[in-house]
Amino acid sequence: MTFQAFHGSPTVKTELLDRVRAQWNARALAPAVDLHWNSADQPDSISGALARTQDRSEFEQRTGIPADLAQLCEFLIVAGVRQTRAPDTAAGFSLEGPDAVLAFGTEWLNAIRPGADLSLIVPHFARYCLALLLDPEFILAEHISSALRDVGGRILSFWDRELSGESLARIEWRDVQRSAMLATASDTSAWGYRVAAFVEAIAWPARSVSREFVGLFEPYLFNWLMYLEAPYMTDAERADRAHLLLGWKAMATAPRDEAGKIDFDPLESLPESSRVMSSDHIMQTMDRAKAVREAARSRKDAVITALMDALLALIRAA
């Protein structure tokens, strides 16, 4: 499909944006990864209200904007705001977040030039994120194994060739994919697992990753943001967090039977993970966990707004 944002018409852009601007400024729209429009169960999302649809194809036809891009923009907002139920308000919910994050709700739409082809924005954003991950100064760098770094570098190089118009053979990708799976399987770092899983999952041509990107990026960004809380924890809390991550990894990677069920307790050999994943522990540490989250809030906001700025730069350049 060829994309031409707002069908090349400034008038269409104005009409569509007018639909959402007032509602968004009144906080009557709830950012969401899926398109929500006129649903009994969900408030309208920004993109759902923009195109008045829950259907991806209809969204693209009506706006000329790739649904993958809309999904990514709304995901970044979701990551940076707190939505709480507020039954006494007209919208039924309230949104809180830094001004810069909330402003992005319409900023990304304002940034789109009518007629722009935005089909490669998500692949280029994926490239930006992978390059960031491979930067030696990246905050999680010490948790990235040399094997994974090597695989990431190869993916980046393949993406650069692809995005400059070269076509790569399936066999070349297959080799990288095997290396990525080996690097992930041999990764033992509590903080590194989701980074490795992300790199493994994106070991495909950048264009083809676009549709899946948000689903793959979400757990990786969650891990990244959680890591920013570590400086505000005690040594014991940091150790507990590592046990929690190892427990999640054990649950995620446990072999499953034919019915999709795990037929043993993956935490049996991880008593510390079992302890920190218990409801008792979660209840006991809830207030402290909330205090740590709040202490790290500004650092997390800075990461999210930097990602938004990178995305805006790509949109403006298209």
Binding site: A180, V209, G215
Partner: protein, 103 residues
Amino acid sequence: MAVDETNFEAEVVASPLPVLIDFWAPWCGPCRALLPTIEALAPIYADSLKVVTINIDENPALKDRFNVQSIPQLHLTQEGKPMARLTSRTRTQLAAELDDILV
């Protein structure tokens, strides 16, 4: 492509290619998360595999036929008969599983 009880015989049983069936339902979050992965797999195996989805809410007989107890669930079939059940959830791992089976 979406398959239902009316076209299952034509699209799955009569298919000359093995068929990967994704059993799902609209209310299932993990199913919706897996859908882009399944969609991305289809063109990669266009010459060796057919990829279809079956909504279990609308096709209870097919759900029973494959004894689907939980979703998402991925079945690889040949002439409508089960060949393997795939348990991976990323495209990279699913492709590796498929490459091993389809060689």
